[in-house]
């Protein structure tokens, strides 16, 4: 480990900024989000139904960033936005499906006609078999729609390079659901989850890549995706599709609802998601990491019990680092009783409670969360206004 500078005992926890500094630090984010949210639309919309949701989103995200800066707590305010994004995604996406198709159900015809939207979960089973087979398994047609899909790949590459597995806590519009459910209970009911299950995401990744390469079909979408329940389910027309629907529902309620409530962890992300496993591999090349100062650590193992993605264990603690699966949510940094966990930029000296490293990570991560998902939040607010005024979420 690199050198650790010694700080007073309270310094590890007292990471907030004064009011003036917090405002100053938040200003760049105000300008960046204004540029991306308002500038991206070519200026402020004139219709109230467009302008009000935009202003609420813009104001809300910047208040959250200010609170992050002022309090020094990352995960608490990230989670508010992250959960909002996931709920917004479900509302906005499902309402949009009803407008376009008249149903949440996905039929064979929809798939053949390429009416399936792009989802980042398919990236590993699209890219890896493509390397070996030169065939892209994509749940839908790419004809006429290659540009937006290529655009998504570019966004994903950019996010992966800058955040690594941070994508899973600062970008993924599914993760917020279980993050929210994991915060429902105050007490943990399921504590002991064997360490070997933390390798299951890699196994799912290997399996879907092999099965996709062999069957030349998007295996994960067809058999294993828990989020079909809140996006588009398979139209139940025969026994096979009924079985698929049952699997999707059980995986959703088991891994995204029940287990997160009982264990207070993100069990789908930590124990199942192949996309997360794939993203984890890029943590090796990513600049940002969470480090643990062993000289300050009291071996209470609190972080090993609270890490949402099971990314800290005794072995990683002994190395003063997190495991490859760390999604940089900041929970351990917020909650360590000794303040021993810190955001760190690789290749720089390790400084406990390093504010610069934290903000160097927070700017791109928070901006990505807002820009990638801001549109969905605005659309959801619009639809909620519609619900109040017309009694329907649909336009």
């Amino acid at each position: 480990m690199t050198e650790a500078c010694v700080m007073p005992l309270s310094a590890g926890r007292d990471r907030g900024l004064s009011l003036g500094r917090a405002v100053l630090v938040s200003l760049p984010m105000v300008l960046l989000t204004a540029f991306m949210l308002i500038g991206g639309r070519g200026g402020m919309p004139r219709k109230a139904m467009e302008a009000i949701p935009l202003l609420i989103t813009f104001g809300g995200v910047n208040v959250l960033f200010f609170l992050m800066a002022k309090s020094g707590r990352t995960d608490r305010y990230r989670a508010v936005l992250f959960v909002t994004v996931a709920v917004s995604f479900a509302i906005s996406f499902v309402a949009n499906l009803f407008e376009v198709r008249g149903s949440m159900a996905l039929t064979e015809e929809d798939m053949l006609r390429g009416r399936t939207p792009f989802c980042h979960m398919v990236i590993p089973m699209t890219l890896i078999p493509a390397v070996f087979t030169r065939t892209i398994n994509f749940p839908g047609s790419m004809l006429g729609g290659f540009a937006p899909i290529a655009g998504m790949f570019v966004i994903w590459i950019g996010a992966t390079v800058s955040l690594g597995r941070g994508f899973c806590s600062w970008g993924c519009f599914f993760g917020g659901l279980e993050d929210g459910f994991s915060r429902v209970r105050k007490r943990t009911a399921v504590r002991n989850i064997a360490d070997r299950w933390t390798y299951l995401p890699y196994a799912v990744l290997v399996s879907i890549v092999i099965l996709s390469a062999l069957s030349l079909s998007p295996t994960y979408c067809m058999w294993l995706c828990p989020f079909k329940t809140v996006s588009e389910y398979v139209a139940v027309t025969d026994f096979r599709r009924a079985l698929q629907a049952a699997i999707f529902l059980s995986l959703f309620f088991g891994l995204v609802v029940v287990l997160p409530i009982l264990s207070r962890r993100r069990t789908q992300c930590g124990l199942f998601c192949p996309m997360g496993a794939f993203q984890g591999l890029f943590n090796k090349t990513n600049l940002f990491e969470v480090k643990i100062d062993q000289s300050r650590c009291s071996d209470c193992a609190h972080c090993t019990r609270i890490c949402p993605t099971f990314s800290i264990d005794k072995a990683s603690l002994a190395r003063g680092a997190t495991r490859i699966s760390c999604s940089k949510c900041g929970k351990c940094v917020d909650d360590c009783p000794k303040g021993a966990a810190t955001f760190h930029v690789k290749g720089t000296p390790f400084v406990l409670g390093d504010k610069l490293a934290r903000f160097l990570f927070l700017y791109p991560a928070f901006l990505f969360l807002v820009v990638f998902n801001g549109g969905m939040i605005q659309d959801t607010i619009r639809r909620l206004f519609l619900l109040v005024s017309t009694g329907s979420l649909l336009r």
């Binding site: 890896i128 078999p129 070996f132 087979t133 070997r196 390798y199 299951l200 890699y202 196994a203 799912v204 290997v206 399996s207 890549v209 092999i210 099965l211 390469a213 062999l214 295996t219 058999w223 026994f239 096979r240 079985l243 699997i247």
Partner: protein, 213 residues
């Protein structure tokens, strides 16, 4: 071709299962990379032999089942059996394979065996590890069974062998890698996941066959 593609796509999993047996053996027996090449060749011959025999067995079993709904039910039940085996194997408590136990770093015992059967031991090790219940092997069994005939089944396994063998080529120069245990754990769990997939397929096939009877 699909056998070769499956081999290419799953070669690392195969390597994770075979390397714990092969690498200590190579390290124990061969003085250098060049001397380990003939040993590797014999080991690979053992694997090929195992695959071809198993391809023959699967092909014969597949042709005995016949056509129509009975074939669907037959394959469905076979997939269910395979699924049960894979799920137990993948998600159950891990045990060491017999081939791994033979090697297990006990170089003196190995040298004794190698002294007694110098030419045969690597072939036997190849045969034992080749017939390991790893996810790629299970998928190859399913692929071969559906390939429609004895010759096609043997051909499927032969091309599968070729696809996976590419990953073994650098082994003589690599030496022992540290992360084989983790890779093995991941591969075992992957066997369980693949088992769940076969469970779905088995249930769908049996249901389809029963509906058509």
């Amino acid at each position: 071709m699909s056998g070769f593609l499956l081999g290419l796509a799953s070669g690392t999993s195969c390597l994770a299962f075979c390397a714990p047996v092969l690498v200590p053996y190579l390290v124990a027996e061969a003085a250098g990379p060049l001397r380990s090449v003939p040993l590797l060749a014999r080991f690979m011959f053992g694997r090929l032999l195992g695959y071809l025999l198993f391809g023959l067995f699967v092909g014969v079993a597949g042709s005995l089942v016949g056509q129509g709904p009975r074939r669907e039910i037959g394959f469905g039940l076979a997939f269910l059996g395979l699924a049960a085996l894979l799920v137990c194997y993948g998600f159950g408590q891990p045990r060491r394979s017999k081939a791994a136990c033979v090697v297990d770093g006990r170089t003196s015992a190995l040298r004794r065996l190698a002294g007694r059967w110098p030419g045969v031991l690597p072939i036997v090790l190849g045969l034992l590890t080749g017939l390991n219940l790893c996810p790629p092997f299970a998928l190859a069994v399913a692929g071969a069974a559906e390939s429609g005939g004895v010759a096609a089944s043997v051909w499927f396994f032969a091309t599968f062998f070729l696809g996976t063998s590419i990953f073994f080529l650098p082994l003589p120069g690599l030496g022992a890698l540290r992360r084989f245990e983790t890779l093995r754990l991941v591969a075992r769990l992957a066997a369980g996941v693949v088992g769940v997939y076969f469970l779905y397929r088995g249930v769908v096939l049996v249901h389809g066959g029963l509906a058509r009877l």
